[in-house]
Symmetry: C3
């Protein structure tokens, strides 16, 4: 397979401003062909200044042009750069990456001869199937989707249009993906949930007969796992973004546009509302409901339903190990301390009554 | 490879009751061909009622028949369903899935032509080797076992009878699996343990010469990792059930019928007894021993051996972020608070002695 | 592919002592061909005694020879073994594994016919490419490196000399690995970081244009994930050792010779110094800096930069669930308790002023 055609292009500052629909100041023919952070940029790179506190970096940056807030007033000490004025510098920076054709190109359409594609699989227009991919019977893949090397797609899977599966992704049978989903390597979707029932001392497996249904524009990070439902389906709604190494158990539902940072976990049948932000290594216990618009901070354990939007936390602060040992010992005595405190209050109250002031 | 023959069958309520050996009430010729939750069931579906508190769902369910506790007395307001009376409704529900042939069918025996199977590998009767699988020299696979697409099975591996490896599983050399094990996708077994020794500031790797030995009826969840032993073996005993994204370090031993929920981790040389229940994201430090019958609750960190059965926990409760910030600040002062409390007690005691009542 | 030639050899005690450059006591022609733990050793095995507290095991061990500290004085009750005297028994044990040729042999050089290697890929001398491997365009692999079955190596990747990729590793495009790196199965390097920007309620993906650069002698455990940088690179310096199931987000930098135990996670743009020890399931929040020589204990959450070497912790001790419930309830009242304590102190101070002693 040949390298895909490079799509990078060089634009003048004026052309770039035109592509973005923004005002600019500087040499209109200045050539911009890349993007970079202020610290590592060269003269052909575009940067962006999101927060005033990084302003000092401007002076030392060799960047050719900078996206700045609309009300930013360049001063001589900010350095000799081109300036693009934006209401949302970071957002327009993302659009500039598009103007400049800098995103990783997708591979050319076609089926690599080493791929194993079932006869009854249906592939849309412009689909790309990489080397050593396996596609099961009855699976349908929408127009323009890319299945990269080493992926295993089971039977009866539905993949929408414009999806990108990076290498070594596994989709179990009957999984459905909407349009424009991106799955990073090592993702497993549709694995059997942890459904067990005791018979004496032994566990019997409960067959997991549900599926995983994933909406449009969902992105899933490397080595994240999503189990199929036991009877009903596990559901990831449109626009959900999951980071790496996340566990989603059977029959979980994650609401639209919710973003979940790495290493988090959702136990069986928990539901998460829309527009939530679940920080890194958060854990949600089973059969709980989290309302729309909830933020859970890093490493928190959610032990009960959260019926109202807000920010929720658990955990203890970082300390030197020496202080931590001392505090940990006291922590175990906390109930006793509370009782002693109550006794003192009572004693003192008694005293106050007994002794004339 | 053709789709495996569908094994689903439709049974009359009477036939299903016969298959399960249960008493029933309702139309004996009512046709049942599926299983479902009460909320999503149709007229040909069997459901089960495990707990009285879900009884209200019966009325609104379209299910054809329900497995209920033996002492359950159907009332008119419970709806017009068939009834199957059971001592263990959930268990019999699992058996009904079998009666109805609803579990995911295993693929037909045979070796896919794209698989790479070493000449000296020995495959039992009815083994299925999927597309793009690699099987190493000297490996033996027992009768009826299934190795799905993309799996890599190293040299000298022993796999028992009736095992099911889902796609993209990796077994390192010399791993042994008993009979009827199920491994979900992305599982890695036999990777090198984290064995290091310092030489000056540099770490030297300690070759990991042990193996992983896994018993019968062990199930292992997606992307779980089990390291090989340093010298002796890492051992997972019969009937152990491991959920997704679990870490099992070198020389760990997990006892018979212990179940471990997702995202838990066991550091090197820890041992866990039989019939334990380790909840999600629990962590067990190295060189500890956990007795039989121990339950560890979600996200707990086990820092010392647990010599007695019981339920063990660590961690702090979920709070609003505002309250949590306040409490966290106090937490750091806990030792100081304890000392102040003791001083107050002393002062008050002194007072009580000094001042005549 | 034939089994690689076995490299095991049998040495006399005298030869082994010569290979290690150590003094010995015992039968010089005693034959040693393996290594083992004291508990499971046989008469041809070498063991080592690291700590005096395990001395009692010597008596019951059948081992042929033991590496002991230089000042160790074998007594009759220690059993009839050969003795090798070492300043660093564990280190010399690792060297003995080398003398005896006991480490897992690497496969013979060559490209398996089922591998898919791009025409423009450049392979050094003695490279081994296993079955069903995919190597992208423009990728270069250094002399003697091994790419095992099922690995997917993207375009423009640089792999140094003597590296070992175990099966089913994924390297995204433009990743660079130094010399002598070892990657366990399921490792994903170069996946897109979790870069998102809100537009209204929807998340827009920020293309991740940086790479992952990994130094020499880096080892990475099973199913660990390392994201590529957003603009600048994610960097893992020489000699870093990462255990299993670790998350390294975009633009993280981990300093030379730092070791990280399993299940830890580093959020975006955090930096970790040299010679740090990060224990299991530690979490480091984003945009923090950790100094050289820092130890973080198991499950700690690092919420702020750590500017000084030392040992740092967070979390609460393990308790019986019953005690834990009580303490957890009190924990929520901690701020209130502190205020009550302060009031008591004030009241008592007032008393002390008011009442003449």
């Amino acid at each position: 397979m040949p390298l895909p055609a490079e799509s990078h292009r060089s634009l003048s500052l004026q052309q770039l401003a035109g592509c973005l629909g923004l005002d600019f100041r500087g040499r209109e023919d200045q050539s911009i062909s890349g993007v970079a952070s202020l610290a590592s940029a060269g003269e052909k790179d575009l940067c962006f200044l999101q927060q005033e506190k990084y302003r000092e970096q401007l002076r030392f940056s060799a960047c050719g042009a900078v996206l700045v807030p609309r009300d930013f007033q360049p001063a001589p000490e900010d350095g000799d750069h081109g300036w693009l004025f934006s209401d949302y510098p970071q957002r327009d920076f993302v659009r500039a990456i598009d103007c400049l054709g800098l995103d990783h190109p997708r591979p050319e359409p076609g089926i690599h001869p080493s791929a194993v594609v079932a006869d009854s699989a249906e592939l849309g227009e412009g689909v790309s199937i990489g080397p050593l991919v396996s596609i099961g019977e009855g699976t349908r893949i929408g127009d323009g989707s890319v299945i990269s090397a080493g992926c295993v797609v089971g039977q009866g899977v539905r993949i929408g249009r414009g999806c990108l599966l990076h290498p070594n992704v596994t989709l179990y049978s009957d999984t459905t993906l909407g349009d424009e989903c991106i799955l990073q390597s090592g993702v497993v979707i549709g694995s059997d949930g942890f459904g067990l029932v005791l018979e004496g001392e032994r566990w019997t497996r409960i067959p997991q007969l549900g599926r995983v249904r994933i909406g449009d524009r969902v992105e899933i990070g490397a080595n994240t796992t999503i189990d199929r439902g036991a009877l009903d389906d596990t559901v990831i709604e449109d626009g959900v973004k999951l980071d790496n190494l996340i566990q989603v158990a059977h029959n979980v539902r994650i609401g639209e546009n919710t973003a979940v940072a790495a290493c988090s976990g959702f136990a069986g049948s928990s539901t998460v509302g829309r527009n939530c932000r679940i920080s890194g290594r958060a854990s949600v216990m089973g059969h709980l409901d989290i309302a729309d618009g909830v933020t859970v901070t890093a490493t928190a354990l959610v032990t009960k339903s959260i019926p109202e939007a807000g920010v929720y936390s658990s955990g203890t602060p970082l300390m030197s190990n020496r202080d931590w040992r001392r505090v940990s010992a006291r922590y175990k005595q906390l109930d006793e301390m509370a009782q002693r405190l109550a006794r003192l209050e009572k004693a003192l109250a008694g005293k106050n009554e007994d002794t004339p002031e």
